[in-house]
Subunit: 264 residues, 3 copies
């Protein structure tokens, strides 16, 4: 794996970089130029540089229970759900290099408009647009706006719809309506992101934003869609680094509940 | 309604815009120039563009149970509470165009200093300052620093103060003191934002930041202040799009608890 | 205390500042130049300026139960955990001026990589790097990457490890492993931030990010490490202003549980 050179967030540094660019007459976008080098990190915390090199890059990303492609998907979901746009350029590129197709990145962003809010998705669009342009990704590589949808699992959908009608129906009929028509009869059936990967995105977003109450339904769905226990366990491990230990520890009880309730 | 042209967050794009401005010698602020056009969104996700046009703008904002003015207030509260500054220029302008007075925007920001933290409010000030300047909003259109306050509802306040004294008193006397003197005997009584709108701001902020434990008190207060069940139901629907489905689903049980406990 | 001049977040204003710098040929970094003056705040909300001057700066920071040094540590933890980078330059400087050593700031950032996620820490590095450079802080003032660690409290650690093995072991062995080896046998034993201050950072981060489930363990640890009840009470009061009232009110029940369970 390449050096994980974290891009910077400081507008100060960005403007310094802009100044440099101004003098050198280059036109390379700022978000890809300024990044924290190892020297930068060491100038504040030699310890953080060591943890990054040894524990994060040298160990975590190489653990066998989750592929680099899956780790990339979970990381993108974490960054988008937490609106951490400045690290996105690096991780969008890493994701594509790890086998996530541009069409899948497109779907991940669209999916997270619904699962982490429109503004988060739009922030990600602004970054992905640049990455796609730099890599020469063309319109015909993107999913159609309204493709032929995957078939609906009628039994599972009836169960879901009945539960939502019972719990949400008395509170917000509009929410029930959009949840059915837009989220489960449309978004989830779009064919360019496998249901298992869509679930991986959803569960990751729930964990990193502290939405523990929604984990049981979506982790069960993820496992129905093919995510294994070993993979789910390793998603937790991975996201501890990307969203902090507390978020992940708070997710352990509902994850345990789901694991205990399933045979496999 | 005008085209909802999402402003971009990418420093990369901003700097590209800066470069353009440098060459054209314009002085228009960057945050209002660079925005995601429909073409930009389509270059990453034609599906997200379709959902934005058809579902969000073409349908959600036109639903009858919540006015565009109320939707603007809820959206501003969501953006400020989640510190999503880059979409603020568009939505501040939309709010004013939808009938939210500048004095009310001023109060919304001040209110959210207390309900989402000082840094979030200051971030919003930095954006609002530019919008107010562009629109020629003068100092005499803003609420006074220390106006004549609305009368205090003594009965409701006694009940609130007793509950806080009992629950918080043994833990943090300082918190009890500021909550009374500063929040309920001062902030909430400021006259330039109607109590009902202040409640709409508060409840929206609680929902989008996952603060479910505080929903019962504030939703009851909101409904005492005139927010109807149908409006509260539609606030949930609206905020699903702006903060993601999981936040809103997690808010449903406490909202249901409040609805069930009231006659109307 | 100096005027708390909030730095701005607006890319618009930043670029305006850039334009100014371009014309004046200065090279001062943008993040330290553009800031919200009192006039700026007044141009949007005279009330918010009044609350800032009278309640926040004139009163809160001067309350006796928490020193300005402790308030600085809690504030930095809040800003890093909530990823509010733009106010960091001011508060990094204020922290150093209030007696927080650069080596301690370095450790606070490293600590929060684990407690609020790697991207948050890296964002803070980008800001701290500039502040350290401006103040001439040299490499030999920073903690070593791998210093001689503090001795492990074997009894407390056995208890912690057993609890985590029981609760997390059946769910995610990788998480158990990193939590022991990396977090409690390494990070927490680093000598350049006192365990009591490390606990203050951790508890503050938990409160401001709504991680109530993790408060009991860490507040007990904090008090074992020397944080007093009066100080913990005042941390709540302080963080109400920096992360909003709802986060702090949601933290009151677990804090009360910890207080009730301890003799002192």
């Amino acid at each position: 794996m390449r050096l994980l050179a974290f891009t910077i967030v400081s507008v100060a540094l960005t403007s310094a970089a802009l100044a440099q660019r101004d003098s050198s007459n280059t036109t390379k976008p700022a978000s890809h130029t300024p990044m924290l080098t190892r020297t930068d990190i060491q100038s504040v915390s030699p310890a953080l540089d060591r943890y990054t090199q040894v524990s994060l890059l040298g160990d975590l990303w190489k653990r066998p229970d989750l592929s680099p492609r899956d780790r990339s998907i979970a990381t993108l979901a974490a960054l988008i759900a937490r609106n951490q746009t400045i690290e996105m350029p690096y991780y969008f590129n890493l994701a594509i290099d790890s086998g996530v197709k541009p069409s899948e990145i497109s779907e991940i962003i669209t999916h997270l408009a619904f699962y982490s809010g429109w503004p988060n998705a739009m922030s990600a669009v602004a970054i992905a647009k640049e990455i796609f342009a730099q890599r020469g990704i063309r319109a015909d590589q993107l999913p159609a706006a309204a493709p032929k949808l995957l078939p609906l699992d009628q039994a599972a959908e009836q169960q879901r719809a009945a539960a939502v009608q019972q719990n949400v129906g008395p509170v917000s009929p509009g929410l029930v309506q959009y949840t059915g028509e837009l989220v489960f009869h449309d978004l989830w059936l779009r064919p360019d992101l496998a249901p298992r990967d869509r679930s991986l995105v959803t569960v990751s977003a729930l964990i990193v934003s502290g939405q523990v109450a929604q984990i049981p339904f979506h982790l069960n769905k993820a496992m129905d869609n093919g995510l294994t226990k070993a993979q789910a366990a390793e998603v937790l491990t991975h996201l501890a680094f990307y969203s902090g230990w507390p978020n992940v520890f708070s997710a352990v009880p509902p994850v345990k509940g789901v694991f205990d309730g399933r045979p496999n």
